[in-house]
């Protein structure tokens, strides 16, 4: 089970292309649904969101593709 795709996001006015993998965390702005931060771990991603000062943000973890079983 693996997943790999490029997510484009803007952080502090700079555009980034980030190749996310299964298990990475993505933060997106709830109103626009645009990614605003990514990270390999939850704590790193939360810290980046806090540093950005954004409030209306939701996180999710990049899932594996074709995941038909849990646990």
């Amino acid at each position: 089970m693996s997943n790999s795709a490029v997510i484009r996001y803007e952080e502090n006015g700079t555009r980034h292309d980030f190749r996310v993998r299964t298990g990475d965390w993505v933060a997106y702005e709830r109103s626009s649904r645009q990614p605003v931060a990514v990270g390999r771990t939850l704590s790193v991603t939360v810290r980046r969101v806090e540093e950005s000062g954004r409030k209306d943000v939701v996180l999710y973890q990049v899932p594996p593709t074709d995941c038909s079983l849990i646990l």
Partner: protein, 143 residues
């Protein structure tokens, strides 16, 4: 009646031989905040999973909440292929974004799970009427 609607989460993926032409992977989620003691997490999209007996979260969530996983009540889990694993049950507060906050008994696992967390039958499906509309890509919950 209290009701809320949440769009599916999606992530791009590469096409596979099994499902040629598929460019994204979509899944039903409900954004929730978890609270434990003085710790609160930002909203996280958790997978709505009617196949899960109860709510399950990963070790990184426990760590961020300041929870000592093994201090909870030990509970064995079994997956659909029969694989077994250990979990530890704790009480946290689950806040469904825009709806309500309530006490939740949920399991934490030390190993990595495929999603940040699962909203299962005990503690979620027994509280809400859940409608997953794959064509509209919307999950609706009401109670």
């Amino acid at each position: 009646m209290r009701k809320a609607e949440f769009p599916f989460q999606s992530t791009p993926c590469e096409s596979s031989e099994a499902f040629p032409g598929r460019k994204e992977y979509v899944f039903p989620v409900v954004p929730c905040r978890l609270h434990h003691g003085k710790c609160s997490l930002p909203p996280i999209d958790f997978l709505v999973d009617s196949g899960a007996d109860h709510c399950v979260f990963g070790g990184d969530i426990a760590e961020a909440l300041g929870i000592d996983i093994r201090a909870g009540v030990r509970h064995s889990l079994t997956g659909v292929v029969g694989r077994k694993g250990e979990s530890w049950v704790h009480s946290v507060k689950l806040e469904v974004v825009g709806l309500e906050k309530y006490q939740l008994r949920c399991a934490f696992v030390e190993c990595e799970i495929p999603h940040s967390g699962l909203l299962g039958r005990l503690g979620f499906f027994d509280r809400y009427v859940v409608t997953v509309d794959l064509r509209k890509r919307v999950t609706t919950i009401s109670r």
